[in-house]
């Protein structure tokens, strides 16, 4: 079977100050080619100021079927939300 290289996930920062956002992936042999391919694939129209590439095999993901138990620790802690707190009548700017 033909070798098409590794899959690299691509993250682009669209302008300074913003987070890098996942945009898709590319195939490449090595880091340098991954960056160049990502540039050619995802920034043909000034879409970004910075690119990250990460080998797909190096990413660990949570598993959707286990969503319930995995995210459970935060479900019953509504006191982490600002709206949980009752402010005295008439209080402002808080």
């Amino acid at each position: 079977m033909d070798n098409q290289g590794d899959i690299w996930e691509v993250f682009i920062q669209s302008k300074p100050g913003l987070a890098h956002k996942h945009v898709g992936n590319i195939h490449a042999m090595g880091k340098e080619m991954a960056l160049q391919n990502a540039r050619d694939m995802y920034t043909r129209r000034q879409e970004g100021t910075c690119i990250w590439v990460v080998k797909f095999a190096d990413i660990t993901s949570s598993i959707p079927e286990e969503d319930g138990s995995f995210f459970e620790p935060s479900n019953d802690k509504i006191y982490r939300q600002a709206v949980h707190y009752i402010m005295p009548e008439g209080s402002k700017n808080i």
Binding site: I7, G24, I26, M29, M33, M41, R44
Partner: protein, 304 residues
């Protein structure tokens, strides 16, 4: 709740299905076929236009055509990437194309005979593709929907450059106008057949609609394309080659004539004017690039 119930509930609530989610085998198979066919169409679609890069009539026309063909390569890559998330590698998809197990849009089996065809392809072929792709932005499979959003952003340039070419010719000398009309005559019917068979003859449409893969039916999309294209043709003085085409005041749509499905299926099944050329060229380019992939792999391993 069974896995299938949960899956259908997500579809009904417009929650996208993501690669690691449970999905019915038929859903996965349908997407693998449809998305790879879509990717192959983008890649094979580079050939009829690539044919005219070296003979573009001006430097402006040449850089535009180069950028457009490069975009098509990019669109193919987005789609292969999305299709790979269904657990099948790009190498396998490409092998299926080259062995003709997988199909691509049959429109690309027609030749591009002269510069007017660059106009007709951009305006009509890309125009039809956009109507379909805009609808697919809402498809239920997340990676496919995201690829469609990106593609649609880039695709309107393609249609506009095509319409610019053909309108320049249609409004030019009598010979140029004749070429524009001739291109329209050859590309009109294959373009409206790009949407696929009539709904009642489309075997796989039922599941695809139920699973939210297809949002609008073949006939609805075709009607949308025809309705918006007629005025564009009239504006530049071109005649749509269909004597039955006329505005229907009752339905508020254009009625149109019968499509030649025998020709459509014969082209899909390999008997179009360029089927062999397209696949042979793809295999040739793939084989001639093999040493580059091997060298790049060797280099990457050495630097690991």
């Amino acid at each position: 709740m069974t896995d299938l119930d949960k899956f259908l509930e997500k579809i009904n609530n417009n929650i996208k299905i993501e690669p690691k989610d449970w999905m019915p085998d038929g859903y996965r198979k349908h997407l693998q076929r449809q998305m790879s066919q879509h990717a192959h169409s983008e890649v094979i679609g580079m050939q009829p236009e690539g044919n005219w890069i070296t003979r573009a009539p001006s430097l402006r026309a040449k850089v535009i055509l180069l950028a457009k063909v490069q975009d098509e390569a990019g669109h193919g890559q987005y789609l292969y990437s999305a299709a790979e998330t269904l657990g099948k590698s790009r190498a396998v998809y490409i092998e299926e194309l080259q062995s003709r197990k997988a199909k691509y849009s049959s429109i690309f089996n027609y030749p591009t005979l002269n510069w007017a065809d660059m106009g007709a392809v951009g305006w009509l072929v890309d125009g039809a593709a956009i109507v379909n792709q805009v609808s697919l932005q809402k498809t239920s499979y997340g990676p496919y929907a995201r690829a469609m959003v990106k593609i649609c952003k880039e695709e309107s340039f393609h249609q506009r450059q095509g319409y610019e070419i053909i309108s320049k010719m249609a409004l030019g000398s009598p010979e140029q106008k004749e070429m524009a009309q001739d291109a329209m005559n050859r590309f009109w019917w294959p373009s409206i057949m790009m949407f696929g068979p009539h709904d009642q003859d489309s075997a796989r449409s039922g599941d695809a609609m139920k699973w939210g893969i297809k949002i609008e039916s073949n006939d609805d999309l075709r009607q949308k394309f025809i309705d918006k294209t007629v005025a564009q043709a009239e504006l530049i003085g071109l005649t749509i080659p269909d004597k039955d085409l006329k505005w229907n005041e009752e339905t508020k749509h254009y009625d149109f004539g019968a499509m030649d499905w025998d020709e459509f299926w014969s082209v899909v099944n390999g008997d179009g004017p360029c089927n062999d050329d397209r696949i042979n060229h793809h295999i040739k380019a793939h084989e001639e690039g093999r040493w580059v992939r091997e060298a790049a792999n060797a280099y990457a391993e050495k630097n690991n």
